[in-house]
């Protein structure tokens, strides 16, 4: 049969490929692993130092500088939005690192299940309560923070505030659209896997 002959030829060609005989010794792996873990630790320290640093700076502005109440509300919302963002990134990385650190799980879990878990992690990052909380807090915070300075810049006109509102609204709509488009694509792939699993349960292909 032509189809079988053809694919058999490609299969033989595939297996004949010569590799560069890449190999690693267990001692070498342990050394690299220590280096990777040290890099990860350094990265974490940097992020965890930087984030509270920014939050403290905002808190200082909020408490000790003479800002209008609307600017203070804006700053507070911005701090909240950043905290939600950092919290979500932290949770996402924690889940991912747990999955990778527990390497024997990669051997025990079938490829389809592992792939589905990765897709679910990414989908959750792009939608749900966490997404809306960080979006609302950040954009509202940005809007209120700019409210008073823009008024001071143009006393007789509300035009800068209107422009600010339009720009922030466009950015917010864009953020929602991009996130939901991305999560919809991921959900389609999750649904395809679920359909495949259901077909498996029924004992045949869909």
């Amino acid at each position: 049969m032509t189809t079988d002959n053809g694919s058999d030829f490609l299969r033989a060609l595939w297996q004949k490929q010569s590799g560069s005989s890449f190999s690693m010794e267990p001692d070498d792996i342990q050394r690299r692993l220590s280096r990777i873990q040290a890099d990860l630790r350094d990265g974490k320290i940097l992020v965890y130092t930087l984030c509270p640093g920014i939050a403290i700076w905002f808190a200082y502005c909020l408490t000790f500088t003479t800002q209008a109440i609307v600017t203070r509300v804006g700053l507070l919302l911005s701090i909240l939005g950043m905290n939600f963002w950092v919290g979500l990134v932290w949770l996402y990385n924690r889940d991912r690192q747990n999955a990778l650190a527990n390497s024997d799980a990669a051997g025990q879990t079938s490829c389809v299940e592992f792939y589905r878990a990765e897709l679910v992690r990414q989908r959750n990052f792009n939608r749900g309560a966490w997404f809306w909380s960080r979006l609302l807090a950040l954009f509202a915070g940005l809007f209120f923070t700019m409210w008073e300075p823009l008024h001071l810049g143009a006393r007789d006109s509300n035009a800068p505030r209107v422009v600010n509102l339009i720009v922030i609204s466009i950015l917010a709509i864009l953020a929602v659209w991009l996130s939901y488009r991305s999560s919809r694509k991921l959900q389609q792939q999750i649904d395809a896997i679920d359909a495949m699993k259901r077909a498996n349960g029924a004992g045949g292909p869909p």
């Binding site: 032509t2 053809g6 694919s7 490609l10 297996q15 692993l33 051997g107 490829c111």
Partner: protein, 174 residues
């Protein structure tokens, strides 16, 4: 030498070349491929600390390698924004272009370039099935590694055979 080291060495001796081909099926660039290969070897060695021999060494090795590769390409894909296809969608899509550098290469090399270009467009689930098929695994083994029924794996393999024949060998004959 620990049992973990023993299992790792045995897996690399038996499947080292297949792991390299697998890395190439997931990553086109030589640097990304080398990174992936290193990541697979590290994960493989670590995984053998929990290897309970409930499945074969081959099944375990392929599962770890494919699962790590999926995580690896998704980490990179955030920046690359490639849209991946299923085998069914691939059947209806255009043949990927081959670069001019590969056009100068010998025919078998050209076929391999085309094959890799085709595989790299597939979504991970279908990419796993096609690479395992090319490694000469049967439907039951593919089903065990990927987590699908042997019947479903056989159906997918049938489609893969048809695509490979249509895309490569009929074009070659003409």
């Amino acid at each position: 030498m620990s049992a973990q080291d023993d299992s790792y060495r045995k897996a690399v001796n038996e499947h080292g070349a297949a792991l390299e081909r697998l890395a190439r099926a997931y990553e086109a660039g030589p640097e990304d491929r080398r990174d992936l290969l290193q990541e697979i070897h590290i994960a493989l060695w670590r995984s053998f600390a929990g290897f309970d021999q409930r499945c074969s060494l081959r099944t375990w090795t392929y599962r770890v390698a494919h699962n790590i590769a999926v995580t690896h390409i998704y980490r990179g894909r955030r920046a690359k924004k490639i849209s991946l296809l299923s085998i069914e969608e691939l059947e209806e899509s255009e043949q990927p272009a081959v670069s001019s550098s590969s056009a100068a290469a010998v025919e078998s090399q050209q076929l391999l370039y085309q094959l890799y270009a085709l595989i790299q467009r597939l979504n991970p689930a279908d990419r796993q099935i096609i690479t395992l098929y090319l490694e000469d695994l049967d439907a039951a083994s593919i089903g065990e590694i990927v987590g699908i029924s042997p019947g479903y794996a056989a159906t997918k393999i049938h489609r893969i055979k048809r695509i490979l024949a249509e895309r490569f060998l009929e074009g070659r004959q003409s």
